[in-house]
Symmetry: C2
Subunit: 204 residues, 2 copies
């Protein structure tokens, strides 16, 4: 992915991707030109096409991947260790904090719209991100089951899917309205639902 013969080349490429991500967050995809990217990253047109021969779309796709990688990273270490109510609460707070900080701009959503559904690459990035995210949530729920905090009969995958949907929707609405109420409601109601199914009252 980050294939470049020399160290300098790799550094430049990385600078381009990161700089583009910044610009994109600030002014949105629609309003960002290659010249903006040039300005921000201190590169020339030929460099852009040297590292992304297929042009703007290829660059945007690289940025999308870059942003996608951050999404789950930003939820760590909480997301990887969802085995108690306390850890779920910490994760919930991390998610809310991350998206409130991000404000009303969704880099991935915008990129996705621009590059287009048609592009197999874009779709693959989002699909993979969602799958990983849901996998984390599901294994968190299973951990709760193991600890006797959640009913063993619960349909784990469906519940994880619903929770993920709630988060996505909460973020979407927040970006439209600037209000994180829905995101919090989705998270809290989702966790509460898990709690409601409580299996055998837990010991320890």
């Amino acid at each position: 992915m980050t294939d470049a013969p020399t160290a300098k080349g790799r550094a430049t490429r990385a600078r381009i991707v990161e700089g583009t991500a910044e610009v994109l967050r600030e002014q949105g995809v629609a309003c960002t030109t290659l010249d903006d990217v040039r300005g921000r990253t201190g590169t020339s047109k030929s460099q852009l096409f040297h590292y992304f021969p297929a042009g703007k779309d290829e660059l945007l796709l690289a940025v999308a991947q870059f942003e996608a990688d951050r999404v789950l990273e930003d939820q760590q270490p909480h997301l990887g260790r969802l085995d108690s109510w306390e850890s779920w609460r910490r994760w919930r707070d991390a998610v809310v904090e991350r998206y409130e900080r991000q404000g009303d701009h969704c880099p991935l959503g915008a990129l996705f719209l621009q590059v287009g559904r048609s592009s197999p690459g874009a779709r693959a990035i989002v699909t993979e991100l969602m799958a990983q995210w849901q996998r984390h949530l599901a294994s968190g729920i299973r951990a709760l089951q193991t600890n006797g905090l959640v009913a063993p009969a619960l349909d784990v995958d469906r519940t994880a899917a619903a929770l993920l949907a709630g988060i996505q929707g909460g973020v979407t609405i927040m970006m439209s309205t600037g209000d994180s109420t829905h995101l919090k409601a989705a998270l809290d109601t989702g966790i509460e639902h898990l709690r409601g199914t409580a299996g055998a009252p837990a010991r320890t």
Copy 2:
């Protein structure tokens, strides 16, 4: 809103909005030009600017409003009468069906991205849509409470917000992955959660 002196004028304006909506659904905002709109609606450039003096953005905004109006309409009559489990189920099916038919294109989302968060108009449209939608859900939940099907202590507004978020997220994910699993999971889990709080066991 649909201000035009003559009947002919109003008809033309409507034709432009509806035609543009079609084109947009087919090829997305990014790839749609005013000439595409011209072609589809059988109009001339001057007509476009006659009815939408501020140009493309104004047209897109009008289309956004047009699409927003459809969203709730398409869920009627179910959305307006959510007073029994059966009616909730019918509504759930209507939502799934509507979005599965719509496929992987979200007119509103795309329009919103294009016109930009910055535009006060765009934000207002989405905010109002969400508020109305949530109000419908909330009054549906209250109806269930009245009928003794849901715990009176339930935080209605928060639950409605969470459900709405789930739907939004389900739709978002569906558009990215082409799979409606998450939408269904969100709806079903949300309704199940309501059921789980069941107040006095219902009679009838």
